[in-house]
Subunit: 445 residues, 2 copies
Amino acid sequence: MLLDTHDLKTIKVGLVGLGTVGKGTLEVLCRNQAEIIRRAGVKIVVTHIASRDVQKTQSIIDNMQSCVQKPKVHANAIEVANADIDVLVELIGGCTIAKDVIFQAIKNQKHIVTANKALIANHGKEIFELAAKNNVLVVFEAAVAGGVPIIKALREGLSANHIHWLAGIVNGTTNFILSEMDQKGLNFEDVLKEAQALGYAESDPTFDIEGIDAGHKTSIMASLAFGIPIQFDKAYIEGITKIQSCDMAYANELGYKIKLLGIAKNSSNGIELRIHPALLPKEHILANVNGAMNAVMVSGDAVGQTLYYGKGAGSEPTASAVIADLVDVVRDINNHSLGRVPPLAFQNDALINTPVLDISEINTRYYLRLKVADKAGTMAIITSALAQQNISIRAVLQKEQQNKSQIDIIILTDIAKENDVNNAVEYINQKINPQDIVKIRLELL
Amino acid sequence: MLLDTHDLKTIKVGLVGLGTVGKGTLEVLCRNQAEIIRRAGVKIVVTHIASRDVQKTQSIIDNMQSCVQKPKVHANAIEVANADIDVLVELIGGCTIAKDVIFQAIKNQKHIVTANKALIANHGKEIFELAAKNNVLVVFEAAVAGGVPIIKALREGLSANHIHWLAGIVNGTTNFILSEMDQKGLNFEDVLKEAQALGYAESDPTFDIEGIDAGHKTSIMASLAFGIPIQFDKAYIEGITKIQSCDMAYANELGYKIKLLGIAKNSSNGIELRIHPALLPKEHILANVNGAMNAVMVSGDAVGQTLYYGKGAGSEPTASAVIADLVDVVRDINNHSLGRVPPLAFQNDALINTPVLDISEINTRYYLRLKVADKAGTMAIITSALAQQNISIRAVLQKEQQNKSQIDIIILTDIAKENDVNNAVEYINQKINPQDIVKIRLELL
C-alpha cells in the first residue's frame, strides 16, 4: 500500500438487505478494501445495514473477520435511507419495500446502487425522474448478468455504434435446467427438482422458468442499447416449461441447441423485444454457454458482434457489479461529475419512443413438432398449409416408429412471419387435429 | 432526434493517420453522429487531419458522403498537434512520429486517444507522466482487442476484484493462422502466405507471428489488472513459427487446441507475464475462439471467470473503441472530471513494482514432442529424466509408424516448474540426442 489511508476521504454506504448478495458485498468490500482504495483513491465503508433479523445480522457482522469497522444494524430499512450516508445499496429485491426505501433515499439526496431488475424494469422511469430532480445517481450494473459488466459495455464501451441487436442468456436457473435436460436427457420437471435441491432454483421458480426475470433484464438492456424507454410491459415473454426432452433430442439431431434467449432487435419497422426458448446452431458461441453461466451478444454496426460472458448470479459475482457501481458513483461524487453518463445511456431528452412490435409481426425461423396419427395424406396437409402461407421448409424429420399409431413430424422452416406460421398451425389443427403442435423459434443471429 | 443540435457544444478533434483505422473512425463518427450526440450530448467533429499523401486524403474525405463538415488536411502531423483542437486521435502507430506528435499535443494540453499498443507498452510511463503534468487524458481502449471494451472492463467494470489472472487471444493474425493450420491440416508457412494474400498478415509479419504485438497488449492489460507498471521489457515472448501441423494433430488427438495466449498471473511470488503458444482443453471457451477473433478471459476473486469476445482488429471495430474513448474524454471535458479514472486503473502513486518472474520460475503443464531413433531403452531414458526432476507424466502417445527408424513420442506432464522441465530436456538431449524436442506449455486456466 503506497497510498496513505489515514488522510483518505471516506464514503459512507448504507446497505439494505443482507441476503446472499448483501453478505457478498460486505465481504468483498472489506476483504479487498486495500485494493479498492488503490483504484478509487477513496475509502468505501458500510456504516449502516438494515435486515429483518437484527440479531442474526449482528452475529454475521461480528463473525466477519475482514470487516473491521462494524456497521450499525437496523431492523427498518427506511432508517438507513434516513441515516448519515452518501450512497444507499439496495439488495432487498422486488417492488414493495425496496421501492419505498429507494424513493426515500433519493428524496434524502442519497445515490442509489441496486441489483433490482424487477424494480428498474417496472419503475425505472419514475425512479430516474426523481433521481434527476434530486441530482443523484441511480446505477444498476448488478441487475443484469451478475458480475459481467454488460451495462457498462452498452452504456459506454459501445457508444460509437448503432446497435442492431442483442441476444442474451441472462437467467442462470433456466440455462442450468436446459443444459441438464440436454446433457442428461432428463425431463423438465425432474431437472427443476434437482435445481431446487442444489439452490439454483427458488422454491417458487415462476419468475425464472416463465422468463419474467430474463424479461426484466432484456427490457433494461434494450433501452440502453437503442435509446428507448424501458418497455417491460410490451415484451413478449415465454418460459421454458413446455420444452420437452424429445425437443432437445430432435434439435440436437438437426444440429441445434435450445436456449432461453432474451432478444432485442432494432429493426426498421420497430423494436423486437422477446424472451423465449430458441434453437441456436450448435457451433454458435451462445449455444455453448452452459450451466448457470450467462452471456450476452451485442451486435453493433461498427464493432460487429461482441460477447460478454461470466457468472450471472451468486453472492460474490453480483457483489462484484455492486461494488464496481459503488466505485463509479464515488468517482462521480469526488469529481462533481454526477451527470457524466445518463442512466439509460442516452441523454434523458433523447430517448425515442420507438414502438415495440407485436410478436405476430416478427420474422424468424421456426421449429415445429407435430404429434399426428400415422395416416396417408398427413404430410401433404401439413406441407400445403405451410405452402399456402408462403413458408419454405428447410428440413423435415420423421422417423420410423414402433408405435405406429402416432408419429412425430419435425419441420424447420425458412424465415417467415410469425403470423403466417400461426395461420398455418391453425389450419393444420382444423384439418388433422394433432395431439400436439410445438412451435419453437430458431435464431441464426 | 429530440436534442436540438444547433446549440450543442462542439468538441474539435484532430486525427493523425488516415489508414484503415483512421478512415473507419472518420466514417463511423460521421455516419453515427446523430446517435453519438444522443449519447454524449455533444457534437464531436474532426476538424484537422494529417496524412502523408494530402491529395489522396483530400479525395477520400471529399468522397465520404456522411462527412459533411470537411476537415482541413495537413501533410505534417505536428501541425495537427499545434492546431485549434480539443483532442488528438493518434492512429499512425509505431514509436517514432507517433511519439513526437503525442508529446507535442500533450504539451499543447490536448487530450490523447490512441490505438498505439507499441507506444503505450514501451513509453507509457513517460507519456502518462507528461499527461499528468499537463492535466490531460491519454486513453487507449483501441490498443487491445479492437472494439471489445476490455480496457474499460479491467479499469472500471471489475474494480471490486483482486484479479488473479487474465489470458487472452489478442492477435488476430496468429489466431487466424493457427485456426487454419488446425482446420485444414496445413503448414505454418503455407497458411502465412494465405494470410498475407487475404490481408490478415503484413508483408513483414514479424510483430504478429513472433508474439510481440500480443506482448504489447498483454503487458498493458497486466498493468491495469494488477496495479503494476507496464513491464513489456520483462515479458517472456515466444511466437508461433515453430508450431508444426503435427503438433496440432497430436494436440487434437489428446483433446487440446493450440492457441497463442497472452497470460498474466498475479501469483504469490511475483507476476507471470508470458506470451506463447499453449495447449488448451478443446471444450474451453478460449479454445473455441477461431479465425481473426479476439477474446480475453479475466479471473477475479469476486466475479470468477469472465470473458470478452469480438473482432480484434479491422477498420470499424477498432474505430468503435477509438470513438468510445472520444466520448469518454468528451464527458470528462464537459464535467471537468479529468482525473476521474487513472490511466492505469490504479491511482498513479498506488502502482506496486511487483517483480516479473523469469520464465524458468513459472509452474504449468507441458506438452513435449520428441523425435527419436526407435531403439530399446529410449522411453526409459525419457521417463527417468522426468522422474529425476520429480515431474509426473499425465499422458503418453507413441504410435506405430511405418518409417521405423524415427518415431514421435508425445508426453503431457503434470504441473512442473519450467526450470525442472528444461533440466529434464537437457538430460534427454545429452543421453539420446533426439532430432527435435518441442516443448509447448499446456494451460488449464
